[in-house]
């Protein structure tokens, strides 16, 4: 979806900025899924281990162990794809870094601190299963969960700052003073931070739940699969209503702070009162085709009254408007729609639990559960399209254009092609490896090869093989 958007942008702007944006979108769109899992999966594993320790629940304990093994693979891929983004900040956007590096670098530095703690305690937790005693092992996972949240806050602080820059003084094109506190806790941070952290929890929870829902649909109706579904699904379902509330607050804040982005999200062509809400629909040549129009609804959502004045995109010259409003609008609608779908799944489970003290039996519920991971991930990606494409043509809102930030080096098209090929292989390999793990678990067998890249264990003692 991102690539379509970027291709559409290509007609509007020339030079290296288009492949640079496409590459950033590809790498960020890929990494963000792993980042979500890095932020929230440890908490889900810790919940399972907590249940396992507290209730001596062997099933929950086994799930925690297996999830943490999958986490080992995902964290490794996330660490390296995250490093790619760090380099891309300079390699693709030298204009942004040379001008604003001194400002937006600070939250990244704080993120570095939490990245350290995350990596260190992930290692202790993942590889300490056998020989750290129960609760000591559980507590060694606590710093991972906490640093995941604080690390995410720091990275989101940068993105929020790009949407609502502040906390610095510039003179003659040079940054002369910086207020780190105001940079970190900028005006968009208070809604972007919780929105993304909750999104990370929803994505991780529903992805894990989806795996077990798919297993149950295939007839694996045992305690192991129901527990593996219930722990993450309940986590995700509890978070969903809060996420919808935060998202609603965020949309209202965007209407006030970044009105042109909001106008694209909601097809507000000109500033007026009694603005209609469009559900779906494609904007072209001044018309909205095929959308469901609800009169006055947008004004009502923005200011709790149909008389509310909403700023349209006619408030800025065409060059300062985001290039593809239909993409932004549809992504926004898909995100909100999927959020409500996930809310519905949670309410369904809650209702059945309230009446019958069990999970729903309807096949439709399990189908919904099986796609919940994909749905949450799609919603999160759509949200990023809204916030990133919606900020265009600016990279730092109203201060620096994306074109001014992009590299002048040629060959970005080459690196883009290579990155797409590499990430396709990387994504496929990650999924294959996770499926290999799952198959091995189902067979209940120990891995038959102990030594990497060597002969089977037990063939002969490895020590004697040394020259």
């Amino acid at each position: 979806m991102r690539l379509i958007g970027v291709a559409a942008v290509a007609t509007r702007v020339g030079g290296e900025v288009v492949p640079a944006r496409a590459q950033m979108a590809t790498t960020l769109g890929f990494h963000i899924i792993l980042a979500c899992l890095g932020i929230a999966l440890p908490t889900i594993v810790l919940i399972a281990e907590f249940i396992g320790l507290r209730r001596s629940d062997e099933t929950a304990m086994l799930l925690a162990r297996r999830w943490s093994q999958a986490m080992g693979v995902l964290v490794a891929v996330g660490a390296v794809t995250g490093t790619v983004l760090s380099f891309e900040m300079g390699l693709l956007w030298p204009g942004l870094m040379s001008r604003y590096g001194a400002v937006l670098g600070l939250p990244f530095g704080i993120e570095g601190l939490f990245f350290f703690l995350e990596a260190i305690f992930t290692a202790i937790y993942l590889y300490g299963w056998r020989r750290l005693p129960g609760w000591a092992h559980w507590w060694s996972g606590m710093p991972i969960a906490l640093s995941g949240i604080f690390g995410a806050m720091s990275v989101i602080a940068v993105n929020a700052w790009m949407n609502q820059p502040g906390g610095f003084t510039a003179r003659g094109g040079k940054i002369v003073s910086v207020d780190p506190w105001q940079v970190y806790f900028n005006h968009a941070a208070y809604y972007e931070m919780p929105h993304m952290i909750l999104a990370a929890y929803m994505v991780s929870a529903f992805i894990v739940a989806g795996v077990y829902a798919a297993g149950i649909l295939r007839g694996r109706r045992d305690r192991y699969h129901y527990t593996g579904f219930a722990i993450p699904f309940v986590t995700g379902a509890v978070i969903t209503p809060f996420q919808i509330f935060v998202g609603d607050t965020a949309a209202r804040a965007i209407a006030a702070d970044q009105p042109v982005k909001f106008a694209s999200m909601e097809y507000v062509t000109r500033t007026s009162r009694d603005v209609p809400e469009y559900l779906g629909g494609v904007y072209a040549n001044g018309h909205v085709y095929a959308g469901l129009r609800i009169p006055g609804m947008d004004s009502l959502l923005v200011g709790f009254g149909t008389g509310t004045r909403v700023i349209g995109w006619d408030s800025v010259p065409p060059a300062d408007r985001p290039p593809v409003p239909w993409l932004i609008h549809l992504c926004f609608d898909v995100m909100v729609g999927l959020g409500f779908l996930l809310l519905l799944a949670g309410l369904w489970a809650l209702y059945v639990w309230w009446r019958r003290r069990r999970l729903p039996r309807a096949r439709l519920f399990w189908l919904l559960g099986a796609v919940s991971g994909v749905a949450a991930t799609a919603a999160m990606e759509c949200g990023w399209v809204v916030t990133e494409v919606g900020r265009q043509p600016w990279v730092v809102y109203r201060l620096q254009t994306t074109a001014a930030a992009a590299t002048h080096n040629g060959g970005v098209l080459t690196s883009l092609s290579l990155v797409i090929a590499l990430y396709a292989v990387l994504g496929a390999a990650t999924i294959v490896i996770l499926r290999t793990l799952a198959r091995r678990w189902r067979q209940g067998a120990a891995p038959e090869i102990a030594v990497p890249y060597g002969p089977p264990a037990g063939d002969r003692p490895a020590r004697e093989a040394a020259p």
Binding site: P94, G109, A123, R131, L426, A429, A450, G454, A457, A466
Partner: protein
């Protein structure tokens, strides 16, 4: 003044990345050279077990150094990124392939897949430090103009840059072999100890020769840096030379005690020698210095505070990780299970020692502290 402090912080981060992360790349180098499946099985297992729990944490030093660089010296950072874009892209590709290949190999099914992922891991472990070295070489030999906006092939393909690229590979292999001697010794694996001792000697000689070659090349091509290296940075150069010789002598005479510290000291001395030699310029050959390229005072002060926080919080965490790893408490699940096919249970040889118990106690204490803090909050 504060800019110099942040410059030192940047150099310290690079040093830590070199002596921790560099050794992980070196492990990949020895994995590549370990031979066929059977012959290479034992060294590969040792390399794998040594790197597994620590490489991600070690890798963060790279990200941290990068962030310090762009925050403290944004224009110089952009210039380097522009001028040396190609080797940086290649290094980034290597980083992805190294990490993914290493993580996948462990879980891959069948020896064919393990071989493929292993080859990816090992080859990229060789290429990544090489390209990083050429970038450092380009900076050190004054090939990055202050206002670079275009990539220049010549910037990093000069003899100095290429030599430094090879020097990086050699130093990574040297450090890894030295660490692996200790790992083998702590497991009582005599054959592997001898195996890596031979490799450490070879890598030490190659790295030493490359260092001298680089110095000689600088004498001809970049005399300003050479003058400083043999001038105010001379004590550090001497430390590097003496420690390198001492390591080789100790290894030849079969007394490996202390070589780890000496090797680390030697590599650190080379890096700080470079830093001292080019002080106070950030980009040698230009007017970009620590004082005029630096970010505003508040940013630099915040970076100093951040580094102190990293030392105070991350330092003990690293110590805990290395202590647990050194006592072989941290094992990959899959390998562990396979080593004890029957019965499962506590598979590793020996029971947890006093250190393990102390670490476990520490973790429980940490937990209790967090719990107490969480409990206190509502009262405020």
């Amino acid at each position: 003044m504060i800019a110099a402090a942040v410059g030192a912080i940047l150099l310290a981060s690079i040093t830590l990345y070199a002596i921790l992360g560099g050794a992980d790349f070196g492990g990949g180098l020895w994995d590549l050279l370990a031979g066929g499946d059977r012959r290479g099985a034992a060294p590969r297992r040792l390399i794998d077990e040594s790197i597994t729990p620590v490489w991600e944490a070690n890798h963060v030093w790279l990200v941290f150094a990068l962030v310090i660089f762009w925050t403290a010296f944004p224009r110089a950072f952009a210039a380097v990124m522009n001028a040396a874009a190609l080797p940086l892209w290649l290094a980034v590709g290597g980083i992805v392939l190294r990490g993914a290949g290493f993580a996948f190999r462990k879980e891959a099914h069948g020896i064919g897949a393990q071989r493929a992922f292993g080859a990816v891991f090992a080859c990229s472990s060789l290429l990544t430090p090489f390209f990083m070295g050429t970038v450092i070489g380009a900076v050190a030999s004054g090939q990055v103009p202050a206002d670079a906006t275009q990539a220049r092939l010549a910037a990093w393909t000069g003899p100095t840059s290429l030599l430094i690229g090879f020097l990086f590979v050699g130093a990574c292999g040297y450090l890894a072999a030295i660490y692996l001697i200790g790992e083998a010794a702590s497991r009582g694996e005599r054959r592997l100890e001898a195996y890596f001792t031979r490799r450490a000697q070879a890598a030490g000689l190659v790295t030493g020769a490359l260092s001298l070659g680089t110095l000689a090349e600088l004498h001809g091509s970049y005399p300003a840096l050479f003058r400083n290296l043999t001038g105010r940075a001379l004590p550090l150069v001497i430390i590097a030379a003496v420690t390198g010789l001492a390591v080789v002598v100790l290894l030849v005479t079969g007394r490996p005690r202390g070589v780890r510290v000496l090797a680390v000291l030697g590599v650190a001395a080379v890096i700080w020698g470079w830093g001292v030699a080019q002080y106070p310029t950030v980009l040698p050959g230009t007017q970009v210095t620590l004082s005029n390229a630096g970010a505003p005072h508040a940013t630099l002060a915040a970076l100093v505070v951040l580094f102190v926080a990293v030392v105070l919080i991350v330092g003990p965490s690293f110590a805990l990780l290395f202590a647990l790893h050194g006592r072989q408490v941290l094992r990959h699940e899959g390998a562990q299970v396979a080593l004890a096919p029957a019965g499962g249970g506590r598979a590793a040889p020996g029971r947890p020692g006093a250190g393990t118990r102390a670490a476990a106690l520490g973790l429980v204490a940490l937990g209790a502290l967090v719990r107490a803090l969480l409990r206190r909050r509502p009262n405020r």
